[in-house]
Symmetry: C2
Subunit: 209 residues, 2 copies
DNA sequence: TTGTGTGAATCCCTTCACAGCG
DNA sequence: CGCTGTGAAGGGATTCACACAA
């Protein structure tokens, strides 16, 4: 029940949630930490330790009720409600994201798309009219946006981040290949495809030698 | 110079490479571990420790020669050569990736795109004709492909992975939201946007409470 | 008896601090 | 003197092992 949760635990919680949804779909009533660990590439002890940070959700000798635990994990991850998201940058990545079906079903609703390219402004993507990037702060306040996805070139990313922070945003998903500078209360998650590829070529190169 | 490199070190090496390229662009001749740490959100000791796993690249009292160290890091990460990549799945994410400019400039060359949708087969994306997904193994052998990007629905991903592995692939970049089962000698990097978003909503939810 | 919840032990990564080389 | 390279210390996360509840 304490604080200071390792980042790795959060990632695993996401996995547990996926697995619990699977178990529920398969009609399971209860799961053990053992079963939960089997999917997800971890250990039973790890599952129990992860969950123990947030409470005691299981019954000794029995395991966890699937629906109950799923609800708990959803609450822990903060996905027991809908998050309103803005997408800045309607380029290649941006447009792939804007009609990504998983988002809506997972509780993330894209309610605004912005871009600085005059050719794109006014066009409609996934039912949303693309607005000028300058209107970011306005859009955040108008639409109650809480998360911003930055999918603009590296040169523009820091500026977008600062505007978002100024408008009160506390979470940024960043696709630009730079380290954004933000105040400590703002969370940034970076997605860098090149880094992932480099991890692969490293693994192959090292192993093969 | 030993083995067993932590995954976090690899990620930082990618960052160092980006920073070194910046330093080079700015005309710097040498860098200290201190300067390298400043960009990249880490410490000087960490930089030195990371590099020390692979050799002694610096000069005491002086620092590192920028161009020299960049070459070394490129070699460590295995990006001192071109990697031939196949993209399986020409859907939304796939099409965003296929003409992502950074890939080519970073040493990853997409030489094949495959899809199982008959409407897409035969079309051209970024100068490459989309082939039937069934031809994956053939394509891998014909074109000397070493890395496969899986951007197909979760239900098809494991099958694609198995075909790729069978054809000798040792590195997979996986966008499907499932844990691929592969032999230990095969590396998989997962990119899960939902997980990243959940990490953000977790951070905001916990902090705000 | 079964399987959770949890202190204790272990392991691994990061940080410290300094010897040593240019 | 300045800064690297590295053994030693420190801190966190994972794993172990078992008391305990159902």
């Amino acid at each position: 029940m304490n604080r200071r949760i390792p980042e790795s635990t959060v990632r695993r919680l996401s996995h547990y949630l996926r697995s619990l949804e699977d178990f529920e779909r398969e009609g399971g009533e209860t799961v053990s930490s053992e079963e939960l660990a089997a999917r997800g590439q971890t250990t039973a002890a790890q599952v129990r330790k992860d969950l123990s940070h947030f409470g005691s959700f299981g019954k000794r000798g029995l395991g966890y009720r699937v629906d109950e635990l799923r609800a708990h994990v959803e609450q822990i991850l903060g996905v027991d409600r809908v998050w309103r998201v803005a997408l800045v940058g309607a380029g290649r990545i941006g447009s792939a994201l804007s009609d990504y079906p998983d988002f809506a079903t997972r509780g993330y609703e894209c309610v605004a798309i912005l871009d600085s390219d005059p050719d794109k402004i006014g066009r409609v993507r996934g039912g949303i009219r693309i607005r000028p990037a300058k209107e970011l702060q306005e859009a955040i306040r108008e639409l109650g946006i809480e998360l911003v996805i930055i999918a603009v070139p590296a040169s523009a990313a820091q500026d977008v981040a600062e505007q978002a922070v100024q408008a009160g945003i506390r979470g940024i998903l960043n696709f630009a290949p730079i380290r954004l500078k933000v105040p400590p209360e703002v969370s940034v998650e970076d997605v860098s495809l090149v880094m992932e590829l480099e991890a692969l070529s490293f693994a192959i190169t090292q192993h093969g030698s």
